[in-house]
């Protein structure tokens, strides 16, 4: 039986950048344990020699000519920005001050 403890769940949610409430931690740790237990079924049939399949179209690279074409203007690209300054996205503090 797979199970996900509250601490483990909190750590994963932190990695995924989602703050969970206490109620969500309770509910999700039960629900996600049930789901993980069920999907672990994949381990029953796999053997080392099966080649993993990541995509329906197993392509490597697709190239097109490197030509200048139309693209969004700065105003269009910034049209949905929650905050902006000049022609740039304005974001919260990323680095601590020295």
């Amino acid at each position: 039986m797979s199970s996900l403890s509250r601490d483990e769940l909190r750590a994963i949610a932190d990695l995924a950048r989602i703050s969970l409430t206490e109620a969500e931690l309770d509910r999700f740790s039960d629900q996600l344990s049930v789901i993980l237990d069920s999907v672990a079924k994949v381990q029953e049939v796999v053997t080392p020699e099966i080649k993993p399949m990541s995509h329906a179209l197993e392509m490597t690279n697709v190239y097109r000519p490197d030509e200048i074409g139309e693209s969004l203007t700065a105003a269009q690209a910034l049209s949905g920005a929650p905050a902006r300054q000049d022609d740039r996205f304005k974001v919260p503090r990323i680095l601590e001050e020295e």
């Binding site: 994963i12 999907v39 994949v42 080649k51 993993p52 399949m53 929650p82 919260p92």
Partner: protein, 496 residues
Amino acid sequence: MSSPTELTAVEIAAGIKAKDFSAVAVAQAHLDRIANVNDKLNAFLFVDTAGALAQAAAVDAQIAAGELIGPLAGVPVAVKDIFTQQDVPTTCGSKILENWQPPYDSTVVARMKQAGMVLLGKVNMDEFAMGSSTETSGYGPTSNPWDLTRIPGGSSGGSSAAVAGFLAPLAVGTDTGGSIRQPAAVTGTVGVKPTYGGVSRYGMIALASSLDQAGPFARTVLDAALLHQAIAGHDQMDSTSINQPAPDFVAAAQRKDISGMKLGVVKELAGDGYQQGVLNRFNEAVELLRELGAEIVEVSCPSFDYALAAYYLIQPSECSSNLARFDGMRYGLRVDDGNSSVEQVMSATRAQGFGEEVKRRIIIGTYALSSGYYDAYYGSAQKVRRLIADDFAKAFNSVDALISPTSPVTAFKIGAKINDPMAMYLNDICTIPVNLAGVGGMSLPIGLADEDSLPVGLQIMSPVMQDDRLYRVGGALEAALLQKWGAPILAKAPKL
């Protein structure tokens, strides 16, 4: 004369071309219908009255000028709110994108505009297409026109409800694990998941990039073929778009002859958990296909028993990566008290902007991809995916197409499964293998279940880039059923 809202896309296009009615009159009739009944369904999240009437007027002007118009010119269409449309709100069913207006058109939207189609507005969906009932939408559930207390399927439930409720003759949806076919099945409409790479994903907000495909909803197989033809074909903006011409879906839908075709009934897609009325209608449809001249054989695809488990690892894994872009930095919601670090702002934004199902899947995916668990979960799921693709390849060596029920059950009550994620996931049991292998799939209505008088769908599956076979089988079966019933299935639906 009947209202334009009761006509098929083919009839609307012919009527406009013959000047029996104008494209503007057709658009207005649909806008009026939406205004009258959308409160009951909650199918449309946004109605683009001005845009629809302007596009319709442009088609009328082209006809007046004697210009050639395409086969769907002036035909209205509902657009799942997952497709970007320039300067039209696009939410993907999520509060994190409330009021966002994309600065560009998705390729599907651009091609429908190019075809002269009239885009009525954006329709509801499960949040970021995660769900089978449209109940996870941040904007409330959509109702099934057959019974307003029941779900219209999902995630493309706004699309299925709009078409089944005669708010639009056509709709586009997306299908990652069944999100076009299952809603079509439970609303008595036709829905098609094209071959992966058959329709461009550019501008379609990504759930699981290796599985997502756009496709048509319609009330007839021929109408679905016309819309599929309009949106299909190579697009250099999508690197996974297949660079070869699309087959002739329209001709296949019109052929209505399946003599000599060999069809395989998938043994694993029946049995426990399937509603008896679904199995009864399915078995009758198989007999009808036999009477129409198809050879029917049973085919075993043993790995399909593991498809659901593989899917609910692969899809959350890809979604956890894709949805990282919703971080409140460049567009959409930002929750910022002015004193927080960028990580805190992202975590608060995603906590407030995402609903529960989206959070669950992102967390499952993050877990399945994390070091220590990767091989056991994601790695194993990728191997199962290979086994499923091999099962399809083997089956298609001996049959032209496969068939099964589309959904194990008919439309269930709103609220019945929303608190039990595993019960909800089981709705996709018949449709998921198709996405994992990248082949084509269609659902079409085959009658009403004995227990509840609700629509039942039959699923047809075809090899990669042979989607014309879906239309050939579907068109023939639809014609035979119509003859048997005397009227289309939706004539039996209650009036809204």
